[in-house]
Amino acid sequence: MNNLKKEGYVIEAVTNKGYRIIKAPDDLSASTVQWDLHTNWLGQHLVFKETVKSTQLVGHELARENADHGTVIVAREQTEGRGRMSRYWDSKDGLGLWFSSIFRPEYLEPKRASQLTLVAAVAIADYLSKRDLDVKIKWPNDIFINGKKLAGILTEMQAEQDAVQYIVLGIGMNVNHQHDDLHETVQHKATSIYLETNEIQNLNQVLTEILKELENKYEIFMGVGFPVIKEMWEAYAYKIGEWIQVKTKDIWDAKVVGIHDDGALKVIDHLGKQHHLYSAEILWKGEEIE
């Protein structure tokens, strides 16, 4: 504890609960990120905010004001962090990373744009895997470690019938959360890099390395297309070969086979018939029904 304090941590004792790190030594800062960032274009225009409602909202505003391709919005804290369908995403200062990237892809049909969510998942998975974490991607793009969620991706697009105007891709990642920092409703199903490694992370470093991976995977996707990404994705696939439940109009059992050439989830039903899922509620707790 004292060693941690020497290193610059500010630690608060909470009665009956333990300790809470109030301030980490390597706080997120615009200058540090810019200094460490070795990308060609992603994040080279960096918008740094102390507190925002959500980096996605700022991303949309900036994109509407013609922000450049590759603009990245980072906030130390989000007060109304959003997940899918506006579900709340806990995003307190110093604990995690929440940032949104603006993409303006040329020559990408809107109907192919959803593949970008898988591209981003592969980028994050590659980063974590280089740190020796056993990472899995739950289709299409949730990042899991040891069966618990570590990061989520929310991608929003403005497009016309045949052209993408812009895409705002938001990533939320639990980094320095300790067990008590996670909301009690998610403690059993969420994790953080700290909880998996026992090491407090430098947020600036995690961010710059993920941006580097993301730029690289985006270039692969735009340059050679989805097949290469698909292969990488499948190497991280969660619950492949296992039975899950799919909720479309009814709830039915399906076995995960892989992903289709366009990124759709490929499953078979109990009759062996193959289905491609683009959008469905998937109940991953297959164990319970087996």
């Binding site: 369908m85 506006s86 809107p110 929310l154 697009m157 403005q158 019938q161």
Partner: protein, 170 residues
């Protein structure tokens, strides 16, 4: 010549492969299979033609209908016969889905729908969301007018090019 079952088997195999064209010739019978935009179209040319047409396990790709200069005659007539429906059938533009996905009428289940029948929209008005693989596409009206009909229900799976709303331009 090939049995229907064999052709079916072939279609399935080709559908799952990267082959886009396949021709098989034997005893004057020629079978050509062509994959077009993810759809398998089968043509069986023989002197004794047996129609074989199958669409296998893929998403049907419909032609994108961006605008419709004039409403189809039959629609007008059919609706005119119903006394209840009056202005609601008068439209001159359809907002279509740019991708396969789930149609959402509101930003979240707790929010009000983006638009209702009778609402005025302009080019940049968001009218709904279509989601696929967790990409949320905010669909803009791309036209100035009034929403006269909503063609799909909240949570419904929509196809590429499927009309979502009918609009009377202003």
């Amino acid at each position: 010549m090939l049995k229907v079952q064999e052709v079916r088997e072939l279609i399935k195999l080709i559908d799952e492969s990267s082959i886009s064209d396949f021709t098989f010739e034997s005893n004057g019978t020629k079978v050509t299979l062509k994959k077009e935009q993810g759809e398998v179209v089968s043509v069986n040319k023989t002197s004794n033609p047996q129609p074989v047409k199958e669409t296998v396990e893929t998403t049907p790709v419909k032609a994108a209908v961006q605008t419709q200069a004039e409403p189809k005659e039959e629609v007008k007539e059919e609706k005119a016969a119903e006394p209840a429906a009056t202005e609601s059938t008068d439209y001159d533009y359809e907002i279509v889905s740019p991708m396969v996905g789930t149609f959402y009428e509101s930003p979240s289940p707790d929010d009000d729908p983006y638009v209702k029948v009778g609402d005025s929209v302009d080019n940049n008005s968001v009218v709904c969301i279509v989601e696929a693989m967790k990409l949320f596409n905010e669909i803009e009206a791309e036209v100035k007018g009034e929403i006269v009909e909503m063609l799909v229900e909240n949570g419904e799976l929509v196809e590429y090019g499927q009309p979502l709303f009918r609009v009377k331009k202003k």
